[in-house]
């Protein structure tokens, strides 16, 4: 970043990548956010395992129960992550400095979205294989479609989390309020994610779920457009 000193401000994508790079750099040095979210996800998974033991899950059908558990776990851990992402901007009022930067505020939102998306992907890379091990599911053979579905839905979740996280952080409210705002708004993503993941676990073809995937892709675009349009209002003091 020092190379930019005194130079012209970066363009839209450049600025977005800089913001994301900053978040990744902080995360790389502290590993705070990842530790918090992964640990939290583990605890939720263990609580699920206590609530429904493996015998019961097998009787009810692993492929029917586990997708729900997996996405509840991911959604709640993601909320912990989104909060941390803005908690570090609140420290010494870095958020104001960010908002004052001479770049498009849409780029800052995009940068935070990329960083949050990256955080989600790393979280998922740990949690999903663990879910497979805990609940005795063969995930290796379905890795490709599962990965695609997870990435598609995580993008929408990261976009919503970035917008709502900024709002909640401005209001100075904690994780519970972010969950209150984010989870109802994420209903379509959540339903679609659970449905598509279930299809994959059952060994079905995703072609039958093309309408869900299309809607989710549409939502990914819609949420980004809305966030970009109202970026000024989101980041204002």
């Amino acid at each position: 970043m020092s190379a930019r000193e005194g130079g012209a401000p970066p363009g839209f994508l450049g600025a977005a990548l800089l913001v994301a790079k900053k978040d990744f750099a902080i995360e790389g040095r502290t590993r705070e956010s990842l530790a918090a979210t992964v640990l939290f996800a583990l605890i939720v998974l263990v609580v699920f395992a206590f609530s429904f033991d493996l015998d019961l899950i097998r009787r009810l059908g692993t492929s029917k129960i586990v997708p729900g558990m997996l996405w509840v776990t991911l959604a709640f851990s993601a909320i912990v992550g989104f909060n941390r992402s803005y908690a570090m901007e609140r420290a010494r009022d870095a958020m104001t400095a960010l908002a004052l930067a001479p770049v498009d505020r849409g780029a800052i939102i995009l940068g935070k979205t990329i960083a949050n998306f990256g955080m989600l992907v790393v979280l998922e890379a740990v949690v999903i294989p663990l879910t497979g091990i805990f609940f005795d599911l063969d995930l290796v053979s379905v890795a490709l479609p599962l990965g695609g579905v997870v990435l598609l839905h995580s993008l929408g979740l990261a976009e919503l989390g970035t917008v709502f996280g900024a709002v909640v952080s401005r209001l100075g409210r904690g994780e519970a309020f972010l969950a209150t705002l984010l989870l109802p708004a994420a209903t379509p993503l959540f339903l679609s994610a659970v449905h598509c993941t279930g299809t994959i676990f059952e060994g079905g073809s995703l072609a039958a779920d093309s309408k869900w995937l299309l809607v989710t892709a549409g939502l990914d675009v819609l949420y980004f457009l809305v966030a970009w349009l109202i970026a000024d209002a989101i980041l204002e003091e």
Binding site: F177, T187, V226, D232, A233
Partner: protein, 230 residues
């Protein structure tokens, strides 16, 4: 002009009162009792218009929120506040009148069907929006945060409806292509009167809330000035 607007508002208020009384009279004394469900079906005449007005409120919330972020004029924010609050009241009424009918008709208070679930989620979204405004440090921050959340919530509602509809279905569809009209002419008249009555009631409350919001703004300015001169 201010006075004329007040007179118009008074006229709307009077019209609302008369229409509501007429709707009650027509629904309970003129419209025939439904053969299977009996008196319970009467709630339909209020439930359906209230639900329609609730979803109308979502569009008004979207318009108010987007208008505020575009122009930053207080009147748009007053519209958004009013649509959010009055919409929440009507949404609550939908969620109360629905189960009263559902228990005798379906045998359950609640079912996870598209219209019910969407209404419940809409209730949560509107509550979140109001809470966020309450939490804001300044009125400007409240207006901005309320608008951001209002826009996302309003755009989300149709998608939520479609998603839950694919997930499940069971709500009675009374009107629709290819369905025989189950209502007698008197029932249609009753429904129409109730619809107009509820719409006027909604507009009366919406305007009252907008005026309250503008008075609140003026009080805030006066208090600030008084504090400065002291």
């Amino acid at each position: 002009m201010r006075q004329r607007v007040s007179q118009l508002y008074a006229a709307l208020l009077a019209a609302g009162a008369i229409l509501l009384a007429w709707a009650l009279y027509y629904v309970f004394l003129v419209a025939p009792e439904e053969r299977v469900m009996g008196a319970v079906q009467k709630i339909f005449y209020f439930h359906v218009p209230i639900a329609m007005v609730t979803f109308l409120s979502v569009f008004i919330l979207l318009a108010g929120s987007a208008g505020y972020l575009w122009t930053r004029a207080a009147i748009w924010d007053h519209l958004a506040i009013a649509a959010c609050e009055v919409g929440l009241v009507f949404c609550t009424l939908v969620l109360v009148t629905g189960p009263i009918w559902a228990k005798p008709a379906w045998g359950v208070w609640w079912t996870w069907e598209a219209k019910l679930t969407t209404t419940l989620i809409l209730w949560l979204l509107l509550s979140g929006c109001l809470l966020a405004r309450r939490y804001a440090a300044t009125p400007e921050q409240g207006a901005r945060v309320g608008s951001v959340l209002g826009i996302v919530a309003a755009l989300d509602v149709p998608v939520i409806y479609k998603a839950v509809d694919w997930w499940r279905g069971q709500h009675p569809i009374v009107f629709g292509p290819g369905l025989a009209d189950p209502l007698t002419p008197e029932m249609h008249v009753a429904l129409r009167i109730a619809m107009v009555a509820i719409l006027v009631l909604y507009l009366v409350l919406l305007i009252a809330r907008m005026r309250l919001a503008s008075i609140e703004d003026r009080v805030a300015v006066l208090e600030e000035n008084a504090g400065r001169s002291r």
